[in-house]
């Protein structure tokens, strides 16, 4: 099939897509957007997290055909013109990145959390990130990164 959708604000059109392949495969292998990671292909690890029509989903569990006409945002779409998104910077600064494989998924999931809840408690952070696995850092630094990101974003809002 020919798949048409919008990814990170740009209209995309790719040919030769098999309807049953995952949106994750389409993003990585057909659209050259390797930010979303493929670790489990079964919804368990969250490293493929993207926004699909505004909802946080595992792109490995979306059939390509289901994404026809959809509006998708990947981790590549979060960075700003002047550099990393404050959430991305917070992950680096808090030491929440080791091998980095899980990081894109955590960044997108954190983005989803902070747009709904600007000042989450530790419980709320852990609950919101329960679908993302990290095999390296342990979760303490990741939780620290989310808190740091929340503070930075709050500061930004106040300055705006």
């Amino acid at each position: 099939m020919r798949l048409k959708c919008t990814v990170n604000g740009e209209a995309q059109e790719v040919d030769g897509v098999w309807e049953g392949e995952s949106l994750l495969y389409v993003l990585r292998e057909r659209m050259a957007l390797p930010g979303s990671k493929n670790a489990c292909e079964q919804g368990e690890c969250g490293s493929c997290s993207v926004y699909l029509n505004g909802n946080l989903v595992c792109s490995c569990l979306v059939a390509a055909g289901q994404a026809e006409g959809a509006d998708i945002t990947t981790v590549e779409g979060l960075a700003r013109e002047d550099g990393l998104h404050p959430i991305q910077r917070a992950f680096v600064e808090a030491g929440a990145v080791q091998c980095g494989f899980c990081t894109p998924g955590f960044v997108v999931a954190t983005h989803d959390l902070l747009r709904r809840n600007a000042d989450p408690s530790e419980m709320e952070i852990r609950e919101a990130l329960a679908g993302n696995l990290c095999r390296c850092t342990g979760y303490t630094k990741i939780v620290d990164a989310v808190r740091l990101a929340a503070e930075r974003l709050e500061l930004e809002r106040r300055q705006a």
Binding site: W18, Q42, G43, L56, L61, A130, G131
Partner: protein, 287 residues
């Protein structure tokens, strides 16, 4: 592979009639796992994600109609007050990503004995509406829907349309045992629904038998004691011994096996405890 994407319910039913082997897909949280691992390569995939009729819920004459395509996230956000039992179960499903895509109808389609929707729907006396192009709609009470492990009462040309149930008329609770809080398939689970207007107790057992089950003896016993002792009126809790007996009767109704997630005897024990606790909470909640 053919990929069908009907945009109306009528078209969906026509497609299922034309291709009875077509595999319906909603949130894809079961179907895509099977496809990604090559466990399933359907010739026809029937995407129901664009069918508006499935994606909504409505309240009508004291009954709720929840479309088969309503996600867990929406059950939690929109139906928590009216369907607390189902919403509690929905909160325990997978992760935020899974709850944003996974649907209650998909849980019924998969008909896993461990599916978290089934116990609260059984406890609340839900009725499922299924339909075909040839014979129109029919309604199946929840307790007649589950035929075996991953087998339900759907005919090959039928699709699940909606779930009908009344808003809670008393406390409802759900409990689930597993290895961690998030992202866990139940080792076993239990739901209870107190109906203060009908003066009945409803139950649903998950992951402790070939299908989700009810515990009719436990239901009758507890409702009987509450009635005999005038507790519907007084709002007092039954004695601890009564709640313990309820838990034991719940465990008696299960037909568990030993498997990777738990042993049969652990499941029985857990059901005894969950039965007592959830009944206590539910009777306390709705006074």
């Amino acid at each position: 592979m053919e990929f069908l994407q009907p945009s109306t319910w009528e078209e969906a039913l026509a497609a299922k009639a034309a291709f009875p082997d077509a595999v319906p897909i909603q949130g894809g949280t079961d179907v895509m796992v099977e496809m990604n691992f090559d466990r399933r390569r359907p010739d026809v995939l029937l995407d129901l994600g664009r069918v508006r009729e499935l994606a909504d819920w409505a309240s009508d004459a004291g009954s709720l109609r929840v479309g088969a395509g309503v996600t867990y996230a929406r059950v939690i956000a929109e139906l928590g007050a009216m369907l607390p039992g189902l919403a509690l179960a929905a909160r325990t499903v997978g992760s935020p990503q899974i709850r944003n895509r996974g649907t209650v109808g998909g849980n019924l389609g998969a008909a896993s004995p461990a599916g978290d929707s089934h116990p609260p729907l059984l406890a609340a006396g839900a009725v499922y509406e299924v339909a075909s192009a040839a014979r129109g709609a029919r309604r199946i009470p929840a307790h007649e829907f589950y035929l075996g492990p991953k087998r339900n009462a759907l005919e090959p040309d039928e699709l699940i349309a909606a779930i009908y149930l009344a808003p809670a008329a008393g406390g409802q609770q759900f409990a689930k045992v597993g290895t961690r809080n998030a992202m866990v398939i139940a080792a076993c689970s239990f739901a209870v629904a107190v109906d203060r207007s009908a003066r009945t107790i409803g139950t649903g057992i998950g992951s402790a038998g070939p299908t989700p089950l009810q515990a009719p003896d436990a239901e009758r016993y507890l409702a009987g004691v509450i009635t005999d002792e005038g507790l519907w009126e007084s709002g007092r809790l039954p004695d601890e011994a009564v709640l313990e007996r309820f838990g034991a009767l719940v465990a008696d109704a299960a037909r568990p096996i030993d498997d990777v997630r738990a042993t049969a005897s652990y499941r029985r024990h857990a059901l005894t405890v969950m039965g007592r606790r959830t009944a206590t909470w539910a009777l306390r909640d709705g006074r």
